[in-house]
């Protein structure tokens, strides 16, 4: 793995928004590498900057927001500051993103078949010839994609509108749209949050299957550590706009090093050991306006000290793990 070049490399990304309450630093110095074929989980609570980070990658940050610094490289190509025109040829074709809420992300006035076909007609060079020919070819591909995401009787269902689909099927349609051009990188933003566990398992296994057959990389944005534990190779934990811990999933979840990751894991009831009491993290996520330079977690941390009021940098603690804490491992439990 050390030899391979990362397919996506985010370094020191800063994304800010000007609001009437002040300057919001939604993403503050995020660095993350994704290797080809890898599945990386990004976990964090609402407002931790997960979605904004990847909206930045997709070039979807529009005023009053802007990327204030850092770089995003996709296969070596710099994306920050790229023209909208170049972005258009990239999005959907090489990098695809599925949005969190499948009902609002699909256009209710267009059939689902058309919404997949649109991507193919825009990007797929194999679909050529006369207009009629192109539509015929694209339609065949649409059916193929719908079969891939296991929609029953795709020939008839492609003429249906999003409201005629269940939540799980809509989410699978989103995945079909995202995968239509066989991208190299899929960013799945909370693909299963709105779904029941049995459907969640179906969707996540589908993503894993397709990842293996197409050899693409996947970034799975979620707030569910269980999902990360089962489906991701590596994990990055975000808090208040920063990555505070990252590393191989097993080792991060088995031996969390940052007090926030530890607290998060203690907050989840353990089904295997129900007598173990949960211990919530007290307090709330800080407002992202006018932040102090120190550690973002300081107000909720049990082991804070004087030095935590200074800026805390990411530190390498070996075995591919990094942590943003001045005393990592200080209180591994």
């Amino acid at each position: 793995m050390t030899e391979a070049q990362p397919i996506l490399s985010i370094s020191n990304l800063q994304t800010r928004f000007a609001t009437r309450y002040g300057l919001v630093t939604a993403v503050d110095g995020v660095s993350l590498d994704v290797m080809p074929g890898e599945c990386v989980g990004v976990v964090g609570e609402s407002g931790s900057g997960k979605s904004v980070t990847f909206a930045s990658v997709m070039g979807l940050i529009k005023p009053p927001g802007w990327i204030d610094g850092g770089s995003i490289k996709f296969e070596g190509q710099e994306l920050v500051g790229m023209s909208e025109r170049s972005y258009r040829s990239l999005r959907g074709k090489y990098i695809a993103m599925t949005m969190q809420d499948a009902l609002t992300a699909l256009n209710p006035a267009l059939t689902v078949g058309f919404q997949i076909m649109e991507v193919l007609l825009a990007h797929d060079s194999q679909i050529s010839g006369s207009a009629r020919n192109r539509i015929r070819k694209a339609r065949a591909r649409v059916i193929e994609m719908m079969m891939l995401v296991r929609i029953p009787s795709p020939e008839t269902r492609l003429n249906d509108y999003p409201h005629q689909f269940s939540g799980g099927m809509r989410q699978r349609m989103m995945i079909a749209i995202a995968l239509a051009c066989r991208p190299k990188l899929l960013i799945a933003d909370e693909p299963t949050t709105a779904l029941d566990v049995t459907i969640q398992a179906q969707v996540l296994e589908l993503i894993t299957d397709i990842r293996q057959t197409l050899g693409m990389s996947v970034i799975l944005i979620t707030h569910d550590l269980g999902v990360v534990a089962e489906y991701c190779d590596r994990v990055a934990v975000m808090y208040a706009g920063q990555v505070i811990e990252s590393g191989p999933t097993k080792s991060v979840i088995g031996q969390p090093s940052h007090p926030y990751t530890q607290g998060l894991l203690r907050s989840i009831p353990n089904l295997a050991n129900l007598d173990k009491r949960i211990r919530p993290i007290e307090g709330q996520v800080p407002e992202l306006i006018d932040l102090t330079p120190g550690c973002r977690f300081i107000g909720r941390c049990d082991v804070r000290e004087e030095a935590c009021t200074q800026r805390v940098e990411m530190r390498n603690i070996g075995q591919g793990r990094t942590v943003r804490c001045i005393q990592p491992k200080g209180n591994v439990q």
Binding site: E45, S46, S166, G167, G168, M169, D196, V197, T198, I199, Q200, A201, Q202, L204, E205, H223, D224, L225, G226, V227, A229, E230, Y231, K250, I253, G263, L264, L265, R266, S267, I268, P269, N270, L271, A272, L274, I278, R279, P280, I281, E282, Q284, V285
Partner: protein, 340 residues
């Protein structure tokens, strides 16, 4: 009146507080005026289809199931927020379904609900004092001069500050709003609370705070909960007993430990094995379900689960399974689990 400590703590003896018998809630749109105008025949939604449950005083019954299975409708039908179609709900010896409006209003002091969405369930135009105090005023349990004192006490009980009283809901975070919803449910000093997905809208760390609050309150005030959730780890943590619901029916009930470690109904098995586990213990022989939950408008005949059941036999399509009580305390409605 001191709201907090009036109730005695939960008693040790088994005492049935709530008995639900064959409760049915159908939503019928077949005979409406709109149907006559448009010629649309309408439909019969069989949201809750003959559910029986027992909850002992001081215990928590966890009700779990996928969205659309009728969990919330059941919770609301028990409180008569939705009028049940048939069946009975016996609360402490009184059949709630037969009460007239006056007696029902009195009964509501003893039965309350916490709603799912803390953003939609608080009136944005009212202060917190109004939101929590309204029930006290309407029920006439506190004089208007005492209401402020009661609200102060309630806010402290749920971990908020008394000076939050003059604020409006939008000034609070999701977790704080849910605390307000809990304070409102506690205002009348109830014995029984339906918690309808009280933590689903919250982040993990905040979710844990609210679960712990509900658990502490239950112990301190001797409350009895019907806890509705789709999250098995939350249900497993807070419940003494669990009932698993599928498409309007209860398919399996039993003590939490038995349900979680040795579930008998194929649906419970599938539901449990679909949960991703942090410790990785859930992987391995996963019982996979295909397809979606069928519509309660036209539920499958026989066992409603047979369309998705990996073990379904011919019998399952023809006959609705009866509830069998097994030796280990589970009650299961499945043709393949007979208990012998």
């Amino acid at each position: 009146m001191n709201k907090a400590m009036k109730c005695t703590a939960g008693t040790a003896e088994q005492y049935v507080l709530l008995q639900v018998n064959n409760l049915v809630k159908h939503y019928d749109s077949r005979s409406g005026l709109w149907g006559k105008i448009t010629g649309n025949p309408g439909s019969l939604v069989q949201a809750v289809d003959g559910v029986s449950l027992t909850i002992n005083r001081g215990e928590t019954l966890g009700l779990i199931g996928e969205s659309g299975c009728g969990k919330s409708t059941l919770g609301r039908a028990i409180l008569r927020l939705h009028e049940p179609t048939s069946g009975s709900v016996t609360f402490d010896g009184t059949d709630v379904t037969k009460l007239d409006a006056d007696s029902l209003k009195k009964m509501r002091r003893r039965m309350q609900i916490i709603f799912q969405d803390p953003y939609a369930s608080l009136n944005p135009r009212k202060t917190i004092e109004d939101i929590i105090g309204t029930a006290l005023r309407l029920q006439g349990v506190a004089k208007s001069s005492d209401i402020r004192g009661c609200v102060t006490q309630l806010l402290e009980n749920v971990g908020l500050k008394p000076d939050h009283m003059t604020r409006f809901p939008h000034q609070f975070s999701g977790g704080q709003r849910q605390r307000i919803g809990i304070a409102r449910a506690l205002a009348l000093n109830p014995e029984f609370i339906v918690c309808d997905e009280p933590v689903s809208a919250l982040d993990v760390s905040i979710q844990a705070q609210v679960i712990q609050l509900l658990d502490d309150l239950k112990r301190e005030l001797g409350l009895t909960y019907l806890f509705i959730s789709h999250d098995i780890s939350v249900i497993g943590y807070i419940s003494d007993h669990i009932a698993v619901m599928y498409l309007g029916d209860i398919v399996e009930t039993g003590p939490t430990k038995q349900i979680l470690t040795d579930p008998q109904h194929p649906y419970t098995q599938a539901l449990l094995s679909a949960v991703p586990r942090v410790d990785g213990s859930g992987t391995g022989d996963r019982v996979k379900l295909t397809g979606d939950l069928p519509s309660p408008i036209n539920p499958p005949k026989g066992c409603k689960f047979h369309t998705r059941c990996p073990y379904a036999k011919d019998e399952c399509q023809l006959k609705k399974p009866e509830h069998h009580e097994l030796k280990n305390g589970l009650t299961v409605a499945c043709h393949l689990v007979t208990g012998n």
